[in-house]
Subunit: 275 residues, 2 copies
């Protein structure tokens, strides 16, 4: 069988080159719909096991790998080249999508535009993501994961509940300031998430609020905090810190560090901490 | 001249009825583009004069009337019927648009969909609004005006700066809770506003923050508040209150009044008020 396609592309060599260029090699034609896929575990199971799937397709040779961060902690030496390449692509698609969603909104950005902005064509994106909402889910998931990680890691530092609450506020403020484009997309486009994705995201949001609440409760039990309603106080701290994304300007009057310190101080006040 | 149009609609009476139904009467054909309009004053002038225009078209017989609230304070007896009708239409369009923007997002809602949801056709909306962004502007403007009005009115109540700050927090929380659909649209769709509209909105947002800051400063001067950075504290209070829109649920554990009281208490803590 000839490698040449039907007469349509034979006559004009330029059209044929474009046709080739826009079409992946047959051997790696993994973007065709209808191919067999391993189905991810169902949501209730995931929530119970606290395993949080990424929306991007699992690698064919390792369908169990649903590790969240595409910047995998395994070194370049131990991770198979194919997986490295895939993670690199995923990372770049997420970066471009984040920027475009921020500038034009989720609905105003097509998968084609994301591919375009990387000088690629749509099949490049389809090789990693089936749907645009999956990219939004990954951006949201990374974002809320960073917040949760900031709160959880700060809670495990030593010191009194007051020291730890101040550290929680500092780290959470840093995430909101450093990743404010992602945070903006995250808050703005919540309604564009698939219902099952929103469930996961809201569950994680709840865990951030509960973690702050537990720390406040610990301080109350230790007699150093005074809070009449722990849950409202936790939401207030979360709110005043999250809000920084909307007003922080890199060229502003205060540095990011100054704002982190101020938020730590104000979080302690909300907690009724007596210095 | 016959009232009947060209042969095209003469033959089928049903088509003609549809044609008539979708077409406004010629005498009130105010939605046709190209008609003469009075141009609104330029933005710097407006900002200086603190006159904030609504985006909807001014009434032909009273082009100077750029009163913000379509629910005009003039009674039904003194306001001309034509103006009353226009305000009623504007109000209804804003309500429907608010609901649809909240449910489907600004980009996901067409002017046609807004008209549809009222059982009307597009020209009905075009009679009041030229562009969809003008509706978004009016929703945003009303929303930020309510917040500003809540803060300004509370500042003018009697009592110490502490009494007034508590009242500011209570009233602002009430706006965020009662109008949380509008508030959600307002925060979510900011990027969809026209640049000149965004300028007006951001100016008013700044006025809300400055008003809180001035009240804090007053308390500091009176020796009852202790704040190391007045502007950050004002933004923190604004943030923790605004955030309520994202977590308040009508069927939740606490009533709206409870949350208002809690926010008043926490705002005083952020202000470093010593009880």
């Amino acid at each position: 069988m000839s490698v040449w396609p039907t007469t349509r592309y034979r006559a004009t060599s330029v059209s044929w080159m474009i046709f080739r260029a826009r079409r992946p090699a047959r051997s790696s034609a993994s973007y065709w719909p209808g191919r067999r896929r391993t189905h991810p575990p169902r949501l209730p199971t995931l929530l119970k096991q606290q395993r949080l799937p990424r929306a991007g397709r699992p690698l064919p040779h390792n369908p169990e790998d649903q590790n969240f961060d595409s910047r995998d902690s395994r070194s370049a030496h131990t991770m198979p080249m194919r997986e490295q390449l895939r993670n690199f692509k995923k990372e770049r698609i997420m970066q471009e999508a984040e920027r475009l969603f921020f500038e034009r909104g989720f609905r105003g950005t097509s998968l084609e535009a994301i591919a375009d902005s990387m000088g690629m064509t749509k099949p490049f994106v389809y090789g990693i993501y089936d749907k645009k909402t999956d990219i939004l889910y990954d951006i949201s998931l990374r974002n809320i994961s960073m917040s949760l990680e900031a709160v959880e890691s700060a809670r495990q530092t030593g010191g009194t509940p007051a020291d730890r609450l101040a550290e929680v506020a500092r780290r959470l403020t840093r995430v909101c300031i450093e990743h404010r484009e992602a945070v903006t997309v995250f808050f703005r486009e919540e309604a564009s998430l698939e219902p099952e994705h929103l469930l996961v995201i809201n569950d994680m949001k709840g865990r951030v609020d509960r973690a702050i609440g537990e720390l406040l409760q610990e301080g109350v039990a230790a007699g150093i905090f005074q809070v009449s309603d722990v849950r409202i106080a936790a939401l207030a701290i979360g709110g005043m810190i999250s809000w920084t994304y909307s007003w922080y300007r890199p060229a502003g009057r205060l540095s990011a560090e100054d704002i982190q310190s101020q938020m730590a101080l104000l979080a302690l006040r909300v907690a009724g901490f007596k210095t």
